[in-house]
């Protein structure tokens, strides 16, 4: 990751996020879903809005993997999205915006371009 290209903004301390699950943050008026895969200590972030019906719910979806690729499943109609690139597995028109995440001194940061 080329960290210098991003502007890193504080999201919330690590302990505010559930383990192996997600939570939403509001940064500069934008809703962002942040996911912590604590079993492998990986973090992901995407837009919170589901592109299917434009509902702000992605952070509340179940997380998991399919063939080793991390994903999140929208709680409303179960569309699933890759957390690596935000692509919807079933419906290629839908795409979540993804954000880089870094953790420093117990604080989670989101990278903006």
């Amino acid at each position: 990751m080329k960290t210098e290209e991003y502007q890193w903004i504080e999201a919330a301390p690590v302990e505010e996020f559930p383990s192996n699950g997600g939570a939403a943050v509001l940064i500069k008026g934008e809703q962002i879903a942040i996911f912590h895969f604590s079993n492998e200590n990986r973090w992901f972030a995407t837009q919170n809005k589901c592109p299917h019906k434009a509902e702000m719910v992605i952070a509340r979806g179940l997380t998991g993997d399919s063939d080793g690729h991390p994903k999140v499943v929208c709680p409303l109609h179960k569309r699933s999205f890759s957390l690596e690139n935000g692509k919807c597995f079933s419906d290629k028109e839908y795409q979540l915006k993804t954000y880089p995440v870094k953790v420093e001194n117990g604080m989670v940061y989101i990278g903006f371009e």
């Binding site: 192996n20 079993n39 997380t63 063939d67 409303l76």
Partner: protein
Amino acid sequence: MKKIILIGNGMTGFKFCEKFVASSLRHEYELLVFGEEKHPAYDRVHLSSYYTGTQADDLYLAPSNWYLENKIHLRTNEKIVQIDRESKSVLSEQGKSYAYDILVLATGSSAFVPPINGLNKKGVFVYRTLSDIDEIKKYVPHAKKAAIIGGGLLGLEAAKAVLDDGLQTSIIEFAPRLMPRQLDDRAAEILKTTLQELDLEILLNKSTEKIIGSDKIEALQFTDGSNLKTDLLIISAGIKPRDELAKSAGLEIHPRGGILVNSRMETADPSIFAIGECVVVHEMVWGLVAPCYEMAEVLIDNLQNGSSEFLGFDLSSKLKLIGTDVASFGDAMVKDENTKTIIYENKASGIYKRLNITKDCKYLLGGILVGESEEFNLLKQVVNNKMPLPANPEDFILGARGGDSSAGIGVADLPGSAIICSCENISKENIEMAIEMDEAQTVPLIKKCTKAGTGCGGCIPMLDDILTHYLKSQGLEVRKTICEHFDYTRQELYDIIKVNEIKTFDELLKQYGKGSGCETCKPLIASLLASIWNDLIVKQDTIQDTNDRFLANIQQGGVYSVVPRVPGGEITPDKLILIGQVAKKYDLYTKITGGQRVDLFGARVDQLPIIWEELIAGGFESGHAYGKSLRTVKSCVGSTWCRFGMHDSVSFAIEIENRYKGLRSPHKLKGGVSGCVRECAEARSKDFGIIATEKGWNLFVCGNGGANPRHADLLASDLSKELVIKYLDRFLMYYIKTAEPLTRTSKWLSNLEGGLKYLQDVVINDCLSIGDKLETEMDQVLSHYKCEWTEVVKSPELRKKFRQFVNTDQKDESIKFVSLRDQKMPAK
């Protein structure tokens, strides 16, 4: 090398390629294929799934490189415009000419468009190719209303697609009934009612004269003088064989259209053959894939000096995707002195079934199924294989009454030669062989090995049945493992959790699974853990489906509902007032539910704890409306007030609801208690129902009121209250331990070998000697009950889980409401 030119890369053309590659012809001939469409051959049968989002390449019958790998030269986007029979060559639109030794026409058909004035206006479409769908989808955002000309198989499919896309949709049919070729009057009438309930408008006896509008369509005018406003029109009034090329080459064409061939697929020109939907053979056009595939096979054989003939084909069909089942098979509408018909009609639930049988009641000739068509595959087999009918053929459509299995014919009775997959022409024997020799012991493997089930997919349930039956007959177990993360069945996991005292998902995943889990295994295991240990589910909130995670049902807009428990539906005025006050204070939409309680809709996730705090202070508990768990036990007023009441059904319902509240199960559980046979509590539509008798209570089990209504069966009669509870403990625990995930009791019972009798043996006669164990386990689980919301409200730690954002207390500004009848509603 000699050359075969194939014109048309549709479904039939592709089948020809596939069979060509597998035959000896590939050593003698080069195959050059022309397709007018820009895509290589795709699955036209599932065109509607492209409408709903499947990608084009997922519909391709083979990827583009398949042709290359098999040395087939495929030229897509290149239409052939002329055949020169003298010089044996064809001319493409690009002006290039190609020589052939053998020419095969597989040009298919196009949509038949009746001569109507104004067809060239914008917004008028047909429904045949991927690019038609692209065009329609592009236009839909400019439209509110759609009309479909044609109430046949394809028209209905197109109608459902645009309806689901949010358009107000009307179907226009020239005949006096829908699907005139497949259905009789009564069946069509039932279908019509069902479709109207789906909000499709149906106009019969209408012939369209003119399309009105300046440059784009605005309305249709009919010959009877009436009008219909519409912004989009799809014409789906039948098919027209594409015989134009053959015609201009002087080949013989049927007076009603279609290239004439004999049963060997030969035209009068010895170098030219034709197959698929563009031909007329045996005096008709065969508009389904299965016969078209058969023609391709016949031709490949004949080109290798074989002597195959196309002899006609079963035109049974089943409609996909329309929101109700519609199927017709064999001779669907015969009625003469040599036949008898058996008809079952249930207008209330939209079901119509008709069987045509020979006068001597020995053989089935055909029939129609509307509303429910589970029997379709089997009935089709009975017709096609001329199997003798059992004594009560009506059992096929009514289900056996009082007996164990349905009419006594199952996959086991089918002869080995029975064609199971008619698209690919695969027999029962072929499938069994694949299971045995190639160890294709799952349905996907059978599909891969034999190609059965890869066409229309209609035979897939039967593949499953054949597999299950085969494995059983070999004494092998049928294992349904839950997902890629756990190579175990639900039952195996149940035992693993219990025996090893596993309390968390993470522990189980580490020891018995792999990866990070998924949306299938997480909620399933959450439910198992809850059924076995009854620990507080919010402790492992992130393995729960959203409803269980936030202890409330998610709705439009991502807001939630609040449903407090009202055992037996009995409520004091004070509690009613409190519900009203809370609803008012938080501006929640309020509705009496079908389960004798009140639902408060439209709470933001961060409001849930405060709302529940106030309700709990007033004596309420969670109603578990969000869980796969006990919902409600409905009651009727019973003997306390009602002049007919035998016993106090309200007190008993409250006792039962309080006993099982919070019990987690494979699917939700509902109960009912009625004070007499008048059954005002509708107990027999519940998973368990209790009805008062003179001598005690009758216990009914496995009813359902939802998608597939089923009356509960009598498990035992004239029981004391104690015995009712004992049997219920055993019944419920047995169900919890053995049912597949998300299987309601009614479906579980219909899959349970031995059926009701066996269940009675387990519950009443304790034939497995597990009665005591089931009761103890139930006691243990129930003793751990805690109201989930009470626990959350008390704990600041748990309350934190209900924040909207973890970095700020700001509210979600995106949630919007409008007002309807003095209450709020989600804004669409």
